[in-house]
Symmetry: C2
Amino acid sequence: MAKLRLFLDDIDPDADTIVVTGEEAEHARKVKRVGPGHAVTILDGRGGVIEAEVVNIRRELELRIIERRVEAPVSPRLEVYAAAPKGPRLDDMIDALSQVGAASWSPLETKLSVVDPRPGKLARQERIAREASKQCGRAWVMTIGARQRLEAVLEGTGPETAVVMADVGGERYERTGRGVVRLLIGPEGGWTEGEVALARSKGARVCSFGVHAMRIEVAAAVCAGVVMEREGGAESRGADSR
Amino acid sequence: MAKLRLFLDDIDPDADTIVVTGEEAEHARKVKRVGPGHAVTILDGRGGVIEAEVVNIRRELELRIIERRVEAPVSPRLEVYAAAPKGPRLDDMIDALSQVGAASWSPLETKLSVVDPRPGKLARQERIAREASKQCGRAWVMTIGARQRLEAVLEGTGPETAVVMADVGGERYERTGRGVVRLLIGPEGGWTEGEVALARSKGARVCSFGVHAMRIEVAAAVCAGVVMEREGGAESRGADSR
């Protein structure tokens, strides 16, 4: 039977038991059909992982804590800056980036961006990122950043950071070996020539991923996947896979 | 102004002009708002590409052919065999795989597969693949294959073909250098131990992609993207990117 995963970020560090109420308890009982003895993993989204088992389930879900541990974030730290696609495609992008293992996503303001996500929409993305953490077993939730201008993202990086701009006219991606990668995904209309030139002048690598044009949300997931694959060592794998 | 792309597979090889009627003409006029002089690319899905321009547009869209060419398929030829996810997620998978550049997708029958797509659903996937070709400018449409059993997919491959099974417990992906890659993506419930052992015994590479568990449709797109990136040479890029 599949493990149940819960996202709870306010667990008493000294507790031996946890009582879950409300929607999560109802979901566990009615949808997941868990019973006494069923294994449950609790994630706090900041590396804290608790393995527990169900003691009792009625209105409330009563859990006994078996083990607590803290997991390191995956390496590299992949910071995605992408123009926001329209409508539900932003939801799909956040969900996919979470599964792929990006550390953060921030909406990127570019010359040809059209969608400026409102605060309510960004709060919704935080909920989607938390849901995705449960689904794919991430110990660290993907954070949703504030809107950034391209110029700001290109500045202020240290020697540990590589900046990679995805562009169909770019070079082949080569492993950077850096601990932090900022991945920039342009809007539907693409980057302007000035933006590509600016990125190059600031030391960013301009890389082509794939053989066809991709929509933003697919490009973000696939480019992020390629970066994680090329940069990640064996030590960063499988720590919390299903 | 963005180029208009049409998918038409029955153009007279000797014609100098093309007249488009029906929905495609209406879409060009009302949504794309094309007018005389506007550039149009016509794809037949089998490598045939026609560059044309609008001569006239009223009820019908009248085009003058400027150039005809035949493009080679992208390399490697990536054949994806994946369990079918439920509902609209199959549509998303086909759309994303088309953008990433897979040559084909076939539903894969495994021990823990739950969805057996009916013929009507497969026909729908062919329409989605054609739409995706227009969107991303593929000269070759991604083909939708018949359902295959895992055993059959592992057999009957020549020396030009590498078989890669995606599994969280696998090794790191290494470039195969083969002209054809069969990529196998398992169902939600994963592969059984017997299936992984069978794949290894038949010479398949079992590879882990990514640091977290991914849902089928995200895994398929990301794994396909990594394979295309690792296997594709510079010569296979950009031939028909936007």
